[in-house]
Symmetry: none
Subunit: 234 residues, 2 copies
Amino acid sequence: MAREAHKRVLVVEDDRNIEELVRLHFSKAGFEVTSTADGDEALVLVEEIKPDLVILDWMIEGTSGIEVCRRIRRNSKTAHVAIVMLTARGEESDKLRGLETGADDFVTKPFSPKELVARAQALLRRTRPSLLADKLAYGGIELDVAAHRVRREGQVVPLSPTEYRLLKHFLENPEKVYSRQQLLDVAWPHNEDIELRTVDVHIRRLRVALGGSGGTDLIRTVRSEGYSLDASAA
Amino acid sequence: MAREAHKRVLVVEDDRNIEELVRLHFSKAGFEVTSTADGDEALVLVEEIKPDLVILDWMIEGTSGIEVCRRIRRNSKTAHVAIVMLTARGEESDKLRGLETGADDFVTKPFSPKELVARAQALLRRTRPSLLADKLAYGGIELDVAAHRVRREGQVVPLSPTEYRLLKHFLENPEKVYSRQQLLDVAWPHNEDIELRTVDVHIRRLRVALGGSGGTDLIRTVRSEGYSLDASAA
DNA sequence: GGGCATTTGTCACACGAGTGAAATATTACC
DNA sequence: GGTAATATTTCACTCGTGTGACAAATGCCC
């Protein structure tokens, strides 16, 4: 989730030339591109490959673009995906209907592929407020994802980036033991060639940071296994 | 606001025929019409008669239409007025620039006077969201959107355009961390090919501007993440 | 239109927090 | 008690950020 995997984009477009153009530019921008010319197939694919982004032509074979958009939004498994509509010039009313239907952005043909990619990327950067499950809490600790802020008993706890990532992972999976290697995998952006012992050090720093206000230690050491977040007595 | 007095309209147009045509139709629709052919005179009149609506020709004597528009918007006493631009056919780029400058609607010549009146009336009915929700506040900072003015502890804080956009975004989303890229997306009109580090500099300028009165720093640096507006202690 | 002030983007440099590894001390388990 | 695992401390180095300076771009006024 935190790691920088290639974003997937599904292109729904029945004009071969445009499809190629879009595919080329998104590939070049590091996206993994899948495409189809058919609306019904698009609905299957969007569930299957779980793209981060759908580029959707307004007028396509099978189910119309606007209908595809609506159905993607209605299906809870796919409702979250970002959607950019491609439409012909000058159809202002279409634009309104498209936004109502749930498209996130609109690009009118003819368009600059570079701009399309740029807007798509900006769209993916934008956080969707509705999707932010942004409060984690356990044993007197609160973590606000949006504000990137941690409190213990109401007191703000300053954490370094690594400490924050560690704690966030523990809060997302409380009372579950993770080995040092597992922790390196989830809380270190570049987890190659890092000593397992290093985890110990950061666990300690996290303990100190959290305990600054004098509370009990919520991080449990499980000998020869790893660590977990656990409010039960040691 | 509640009273149904005759709406006042100022027509800025140097073509005698068009001026007459517009005057006639707006009068018939119950407007009180004033007109001028000169841009500089328009700026005086708009303060004097406080119209509800300005019909503004793109190309006029004196100061150009776009410049008149800009100045009307910049003057806090007149910034709220509705503006409809009259422009020659086919100038899409003009249209864009006009909207950026602050025109509310665009009508291309030749136009139907009936349609012009209808759109003007629709415009007046339409509530301008930016002018309604026009007070943002957080941690001793007040931002008046309509007046385009910022105060801290009551003291007026002069801000450059970029600083203003940054602060406005933060005030609209307080205590939420934004990456440099996200800030470029929302606070820079043309965000292509701008270095991420540039954000740092403008954040600093905003800090200096806000802190001029000696208050604490409300902008929080979240290392390796971005910035947020946050009144809590570190 | 020309000259001036402001705004803006970029850079170079300095500083300090954050990080990873190593060395030593401590604890837990048999 | 012996051994292995973990805790703690320390240190060198990296990397992100703050800062001031500068040049280009923009807008403004006459």
